[in-house]
Structure formats: C-alpha cells, structure tokens
Symmetry: D3
Subunit: 237 residues, 6 copies
C-alpha cells in the first residue's frame, strides 16, 4: 500500500519530519511518500494561511505525477482542504485533525487538543465539529509556541506540560498533539502527563490503511461528488 | 462610505450583476465597487472550488490597489475565506451567507436556504454553523440548477418555488437565496411563495454599512489577529 | 424613515437617554421617536418585571396614536415581548438583545454579554437562544449594578472592566452591553478593554433600518401570524 | 395540602373545567382552588396573548386574598409567566407544559405534543427548551382547532388522532395534550392511539404535591430571587 | 399502592436505609418494599459494577415472587438498567437519577449533582442525557468519598459542602444528592448550603406514585416493547 | 498481534461467523480469537438483553484463561458493556458500534445505520452519542428482521435496500451495518445502493490494530480507572 502524506506548508524539512513520523507509524508493507506544495505559506498559523494552504495542497494533489497511491493523509492540524481533496482524488482521504480525534474517543470519555498558538484554537474547534467528532473535545489549549519554534524540545515539552494541566482540569482524559510538527513528542509527553497522547500523523496513517484494507472509499453521493468540469486557474500568472 | 464587494469566481459578468444588486441595496452615499479575483474557478460549485476561491479572493484583497474602502462584503454563498479576510484587512468583513441568515432570524422563527446544486448543502450548513447562526436553519434545499444556469428566469423561478415548498414543509417561515447569482429574484419569489425572501448581497451591504456607521471593527484579540509575517507565495510560478 | 423605540420601563428619563443613543446611531434621514409605556415597572430586573413590561409595551404599541412608523426597536435587554410585537404591528421589529448579538457575531468568533445584576443572566441566555443567536455566546456576566445605579460613570466603568476580564477568560473576543441604560459607554469601554463593544440600541436601530431599506417584513406564515380577534382587557379596571 | 391552579385566560368556564381535571388528579387530602385572572385575553393563542396573560396571571397571584396555599400550578400550555411566579410566591410553582414533559420522559424514549393551532408550536418548543426538558420532544403537532373549539368532543378526537399519527411517524412513543382545555381527553385518546397520553394539569398537580411533600421549594439563589422593591403599576388606569 | 424499591448492590443494610428514606417520602397509604439483588457487587462504583448490577437487578425483578406491586423505583444513582426494567415489568419504572433531575428542574434554572467518587461522573452525565433531562445540569462534582464511606456524617457533610461550593460557582441553583446512600442528608445540607437539595429516592417514590395515580404506564410502542421470547441464562452455572 | 473478539450472545455459530468476518478484515500477522459468553441471551434484541449481555461478556473477559491478547473487539452492535471492559482489561477495547461510526465519518458528511428491529434504534442512538460520534448520524433505520433471521440472504438484502432508501432520503451518504450478524453483506449491499457500507466488525478489528500499533491504551485517569477491589458475585448460585 502506498500513502501520500501532504504537508500543509512549503517547508521541506517539515515534510521530511512528518514523513519520518508517518513511516514509524505505518504497517510493514506500507510505503509513505511526502508531498510538499510548491506554493503557499512556509508555516500555517491562522485562517489566511490555512485557506492559502488548502488551495496549494489541492493544486499539489491535482498536478501530482508520481507513482499511484492508495490513500492521502493531510498533515495540517486544524487546516482546511480535506473535503476538496475528497472530491478530487479517487482514494480515501484522512486529515490528521479528525484522525487524532477519532482515536482519542476510543481511549477516554473526553479529550483535549494541545496546540501551538492560541489563534489556532478556533480553526481546530471548527475542524473537529465539521468532522463530526467534536462532541467529546473539552478544550483546545495553546502552548504559545509558533510552528517553527517547536524544534527546542525542552521548551516544547515544558509548554506542553503546562497546557496539559489546563486540559486535565477541563476534564480531559486523553490528549491530542495539535500540530503535525509535534509528531514524535507523544511518548515523552505521555510519560510526563500520565495520560494517552495521540499524534494525528500516526493516527491518520493507520486510519487510511484501515479504509484501504477494508475496501472503503469516499462516498460520491452528496457532498463529495467529483468536481465539475470548468475553467479554473491556480494562482496568479 | 465605500464598500468593496468580492466575487468568489472569475466571471466578470457575475461580478457586475452582484455589484448592481449591491448598489440597489446600499444607502445613499455608499459607493460599491466590485473585485473579481484574477484567478480561481469561473464558478464555485463544491469544496474544491470553494477552497480555490478562498485563496484567490484573499489574494485579490491582498494585492488590491484601488481607492481605500470602509468594509468588505464577500459575495460567495457558502464559500470559504471570510475569517482569512478578517485577519487580513483593517475594516469590517461580512460574508453574504451569514448576513442573510442574521436578517432572516429577525423575520421569523425558522428559516431555510434555497440554493443551486445539492452538493453545496454541506458547505452552507457548515458556514452557517461556524458563523454562529445555524440554529434556526431548518433546511438547505437544492434547486438542481448550476450557478451559470440561473440566467433563465422562468426556469429558475419554477425550481425555486418547488424548493420553497419543501422548505415550508420543514417549518421555514423565511427563505434565503442561497447563491449570489440569485440576487434580484427576491421580490418575484416573495410574492409567489408568500414568505419573506432574503438576499445575501443586500443583507451583506446593509450589515457592513451598519458596522461602519457604529464604529465597529473586527476583534484582534483571539482568532482574528493580524497574519504573522512570513514567506507566502500565491499560486504556482 | 421613522423608527419607534420602546423603553421597557416607565422611567421617562431612561427613554430619553435611549432615544439619544438611538439618534446618535441612526442614519441621516431616520427619525427616532421614543415610546414609554404608561404602566409597568420603573425598571426591569427579573422575570416578573420582564413579563409585566412585555404586556405594558405591547399595550403601548397597540394604543399608540402618533405618526406612522416604519420599524420598532424594543429597548429592553433580555426582556420579553418581541414575538408579540411581531404579531401586532405590520413593520419589522428588532429587539436590542438579538440585535447586539447579531452584530457581535460578525466581529469575532465568540462574544459575551456584560449586564447589570446576576439575576438577569438567565433571561438573557434564554433570549439569545430563542432568537437563534446564542451559540457563540460564551458568558453572560453580571456587574452587580442595578439598572438605576448606572448613572455613576466611574463606578460603572470599573465594574464593567472587572466583568470584561471574566468574559475574556471565558473566550470572548467581543463584548455586548447588556442593558439599554449602558448605551453611550461603548466607546469608553472599548478603549479600556481592547475589544469591540456592541451596544444593542445602536445595533437595533441599524438593523431595523436595514430591514426597512431592503423591503423585508415579518413573516406571517407560522408563528407570527396576526393576533386573532377576541376579547382582551389590558390591566385591572 | 392546598393547590392554587391559575387559568391563563379570563374564561371562567375554562377555569372550572381545569379545576375539575385537577381535582380528579389530586391526592386525597389535597384541596384544589382555581384562580381566574380579572383581565387579559379570553383565550391564549399566540405570543401577544401569552405575554398579556403572563402579566395578568402574575397580577392575580400578587393580589390574591384567599386562604393560604402550598403550591401553584399554572395551567397555560406553552404560556409565559412561570419564572415570574417563582420569584413572586414562596411556594413551589409548576407549569403544566413542563409537568407533562417531565412525566412523558419517564414513559418512553421520545414524546410529542399535540396542540391546538400551529401558531402555538413555537411557544411550546421554547417553553420546553427553557424548562430543560425539550431534548426528547420529537414534534409539536397542531390539530388546527382553536382553544374554544375543543368542546366538540368527536371533532377534537378526530383531529387529535390525525395529529397523533404524525407524531408517531416522527418517533414519538408518548403523547402530551398540548392545551389545558384538552384535560379529560387523555383516556379516550390513549385507547385510540395505543400510547400513553399525558395531561399537563394532572401532571402539574401531582408534581406540585410531590415538591410540597418532600419539603422542596424554589431556589432563591440566582435567577428566582424575590422581586426587588420598586414602583410597578399593573395595567392602565 | 405498593412500590418496589430495588437496591443496585447486594448490601442489605443499604437496602434498609434506602427503604427507610423511601418510606419517609411516600404518601400515606403507600407501602414500600425493598428488593436486594442476590448477586452482583456489594457497592457500585464504576462502569463494570454498574453493568453487573443492571443484570442482577433485572434478574431480581424477573424472579421476584412477593406480593404484586404498582411501580418500581430503581435506587442506583447513575447506574444502568432502567430501560430493561421498563421492558420487563408491566408497571411504571422510575430511576432515582432521572427522578431527582426532573424535580430539580422545577426548582431553579440550573442544577448540579454532588456524588461520591469522580469516576462516577461520566455515568451520571450519560444517564441524565439519555433520560432527556441533562440540559440544565451544569456540573457533576465528586466528593472523593466511596459509597461505603458515607456513614461518617460529619466527614460526608464537610465533603458535600466543598463540592457544593464548586457546584455553585458553576452556576447551580439546586443540588442533587448523587448517591442513594446519601438519602437523609438533604435537610442538613440544604440549611448549610442555602439551596434546595433533592434526594433521588424521595423524588423517585413521589414520581412513581404520580404515574400510578394518573394511570400512566410505560409505552410499549417502540423502544420499551416487551422482551422477546428466547433462551436466556442469568449467571454462570 | 492477537485480538479477542467477544460475541454479545451465547450462540456459538454467530461467534464463528463474526470471527470469520474479523479474520477477513485483519492484517496479516493478526490472530483473531472469538469469545462466547457462557451465559446471557442467545441473541440480543432490546435493553434487557443488552444489559444481561454486558454482564455476561464482562464475566467472560474476567474469567478468560486463554493466551494473552493485545486488544478486545466487542461485537454487539448498540449493546452495552464497552466502558466496563475498558476498566477491566489492560489493553485497548473497541466496540463495533463506535468503530463503524468513526470510519463512516471519514467517508461522507452524514451516515445512517441500518439495523434489525426498530426496537434497537434507541440503544444505537444512545451508544453513538455516548461514544462521541453521533453528531453525523442522520438516521437509524430498522429492517424489521430479527437477529436470527438474517440468514436468508435474499430477504435480508431486500429489507436492507428498502431501509437504505429511507436512509438516503434522510441525507445519509454512507451506511453502517447495524448488527454483527450482517457482516459479509457489505460488498453486496454497497453495489446495490451505490454508497459505501461500513461493517463494524471489520472496522473494530482495524481500529484495535491501529491503537495497538501506535502504543495507545485506555486512559486510567478519570472514568476508566481500574475496578475497585470488592466482593462481586456473577450470577445466581
């Protein structure tokens, strides 16, 4: 099985990191390949970035010319675009936001998301709601760290632990890593906070594999019908 | 006062029609100017189109070089992008989807949206929900007509009346025109169906004027803070 | 255009103050006239007052003999009666509670109401919910000041700022002035708390103007049909 | 124990009928007395009537000079006023709308209300919601009969059975009689439709008795504190 | 009238205590009898206990050979089984969780439950929701005391008061005793915390009496049809 | 990896069938073993059966003496017990109801469940809600077939197709097989109805594998703490 993991930004090193996390999570026999959009923002922090990213990722999928793949994992936490990808491609599409939430629901009665900046909370709340899996989310907590500041592991862990305490007080029994760039932290954090910690990239890969293995694909009846034929231009000339 | 009305697609004739509707609805003393994105889809029907449109409209706002304006009205019914525009510009932003729903709530206990294709229902439902004004929407009903088929007035009115009956059976006391391209139909339809019919373009213009007149602007605290400085590229080179 | 603004209590000085606020907010060309009920409570603080006020305001509208008007703005924050007025008169009716909430939704993802006494919180919550616009309200916060204690500007501002901090902690990005008697505070408070502050009286006037300008009236199909003919007596003989 | 049952309208014959139903439902040892407001509408059908009724009923309670009572049952289905009565009197207050719904929840997973005119549906929905017991209500169905047309038993039963079928199709396992004037129909209807039918007057009496017997009274902390001292006039002089 | 009160655990002394509370609450002329399951857990604290208890209580009802009864009150706060009992017996079934919540809704706008261990919160939340009466519950607060530690009255009252303050801060105007073993505390606690305190056992008895007196029984249409004939074995041989 | 699949009833042939379905769905390298409770009902149709089944399945897990396993899949659609199993065992527990719903959410905007008897609808609705994944379920539709009548493939397919049309009309874009005994139907039905059809057994197996592979286990903080030490007896002696 071949899974295409799309980064939501143009930073190749982040794609590489995400692909590493995805490969760690994948089943034997699954090949993971990363796809970095050729345009868009170099990190996604806020609504404007997110909409720009959505178009750029859809363009990357649309113009992809590599080997065929069996599923797409979209690695932007709280970012837009998943429904468009479901229209566009003929294989299952899983977004890491929803993926993490789906697994979190299986591990405890209530979960919380720990993310980067506070400004991203609204997008994540909306993304969970529209994915149908927001009911058990008791909090989305910011750490105050930007996407590109996550490299400093000690600082990140500290900030995460503070946020995790807030989440626990709000009733969370499970935590979700609210940024693709946090992949890899989950084991360290889990030990420190004493609750399960779900990483969306790993969750997305496993859910995508599950859909493919079960022969399940996106419904074409209703919202995710194929895009209509029409003129579209993708970015300014 | 000067209001910039953004079309969500690249079809200039549709921009012209929307601007006509907006001018009809505007107060004396308000200038309305249209903005057509230089890229994107030629009509928006579905999620992929909507995300592409969102990025293109944000790019058009970002690179706009005309006279200063006091508010933005985004004329894509159910389309994405409004939160990004709120981050980007320093004046109020009103989306026609939410605008129509806000006014509809003042006219009856429950409202319904009559739109073009069934495939757009999901986007509209999500857009109303995330705008905080979905609670009183009892139905989003498709007419089966594509955006560019709305020109045939008799056929459009017929299809609209059929959809309106479905909406009434679902408990709607007010109808909302679920496409910017329907602007102008409201009076004809109102008489035929016997309930108030709200057009989002007119609603959006009046709400934008209201915010400006009251000195109200987008909150910068929380979700709609200004975009962070970073590298972004807008479309493929 | 002529707008009738109904005070919810019998205190003429408060009607005067509300009318001043309404006139400040109105468009050029709009005439604002106040209507003080001839009976009812001298201020509205609680459910009993609110129901008494509702009947008295409806009686005032029913027996009004002044010049014709184009819309009604009901200036009781969280008070009852708006649906009855919609049945009774043939012009649009806007209540300041819902009006403020509708505009607040356009300015930020979540809003809060800052009101007078804690005992009014329940009425306000119910009023927002039944108006269809409660979903994005994260808190209704009392200042501990009675309606007739709002005259002391320094004390009011202080109490408001304390309440505003509570609202911010609950996630509010926009504040709503939860009492008609607070009209005029919004600019002072806005600067102090750094978020948009919406006054219901101004919001109500602008929304009423918008409905009139767009030719929109209350739906007569369903809940707001005209009152049936029958014997009614309005108060004890 | 002595229970005061308030009619919501000025029609004494309806008070008498309600009192008969209440006495049939009461425990041995409970005395039921009716209270007819001296002003207000002669039947309540719509919002305007309902607000007028609320003030008139509160006035009747306020000026009541008969023997002391242990609880109040408010016999207006979907009508306003209950929260004001809770502020006003020092004994438990039960409204027949909420009472019927509470018992209905104990008899099946979902219930529906069958009422008089369609125009009352909104008030009933709001009343159930604000009472905290609307979640399991799947439908409020009108029979098309006005309050004062319920006298014709055959016609009423017929209309009720038609409405009951609609309710069943919506998933109702229990029906609620949505008008105080329907009291007495429940046994006949129950046999005809094969599901439990709850009458609010009987339910209200039994719930009021239960609260009194258990020594439970309205909370004075928060929303239902006693009315503040102030000038109030009750109706035009 | 004869009411059968089922304990949810095998501890006879707790059955005795519950029966005492039930008798205190019952009307003159009502006979209360306790039923202790012959198997199951000796106290119920958590989901596993609760499911075991549900089966054991249903078995006790199924094999009960005492005098006929008119209603069942199930005295396990937050425990499972009530819907099964509704299928099984031909008389009304009231669970103390829902009973307390129904009465609490009549006494204030919002209520909270004070229970034993934090681990029971989830079950109680789910039980209130599925009973249709969870909307006005603002908090379920644990005291940290196990079921069998409630004997120490001073310690229990102390822990209860601490929890009650948390509940008040969350907006509760009424408290519910969240364990059958707390029956008897309500008067002491009520005085100390100044808000109404509802005991589920008393509430359950009175609601059961009400249903019987009004001739109301469980709906057999839909979810609570009689159990189908089939082979079932109740516990390991 | 070794997965234990628990049947919810005592019918060994149904366990065998479920195990066949589970093995078809499992990854290479996963061993699936069935566990049939030694007591309980021979099929589960209704609440009483479901609670009896929950205790029996927990007893089977508690006394299981076979080889160690890595996860439990509970194969009762809409049946109780999953939270108890999460307390009891130290490996992930996935229930087929929630599993199917989680995957369905990834394939379309709204899903419906097609089940056996109408009487099971309530349990399924509650089970989806308490699992946090009910928001996108638009309908639970009965086929009218009992669990043990599913053997007749033609009749089952026919009944399923009729139910599927109802589901589609309610807005479902994806269907879920609402009974473990339907496993195997999904491919046939999918072709006939033209939408994705999710089987809970397969979904459960894949989700369980995913949790194990990612090193995720049930949270012990909060609701799913280990059962307390106490005396429990499992069925009558």
């Amino acid at each position: 099985m071949r899974i295409l993991v799309t980064n939501c930004n143009t930073t190749q090193s982040m794609t590489d990191e995400i692909v590493r996390g995805a490969r760690d999570a994948a089943s034997p026999g699954t090949t993971v390949e990363g796809l970095t959009p050729s345009w868009g923002p170099d990190s996604v922090e806020g609504w404007l970035d997110s909409y720009l990213s959505a178009a750029a990722v859809l363009d990357a999928l649309r113009t992809y010319e590599g080997p065929a793949y069996d599923a797409v994992v979209m690695a932007g936490f709280g970012e837009h675009g998943r429904e468009g990808a479901r229209e566009l491609v003929d294989v299952p599409v899983v977004d890491i936001t929803e993926a993490a939430a789906h697994l979190a629901c299986l591990l405890g009665r209530r979960y919380a998301v720990v993310t980067t900046l506070d400004r991203s909370r609204g997008q994540i709340e909306d993304s969970l709601h529209t994915a149908g899996v927001g009911a058990h989310c008791v909090a989305v907590v910011g750490t105050g760290l930007g996407v590109l500041e996550l490299g400093d592991a000690a600082r990140t862990t500290d900030a995460f632990l503070t946020a995790a305490r807030t989440a626990r007080d709000a009733g969370a029994e499970v935590l979700v890593l609210g940024c693709a760039g946090m992949t890899g932290l989950e084991r360290a954090v889990r030990d420190a906070v004493g609750v399960p910690v779900v990483d969306g990239v790993g969750a997305g890969v496993r859910l995508a594999e599950s859909l493919v293995a079960l022969g399940l694909g996106t419904s074409r009846v209703g919202g995710y019908a194929r895009p209509r034929d029409k003129r579209r231009s993708w970015g300014r000339r």
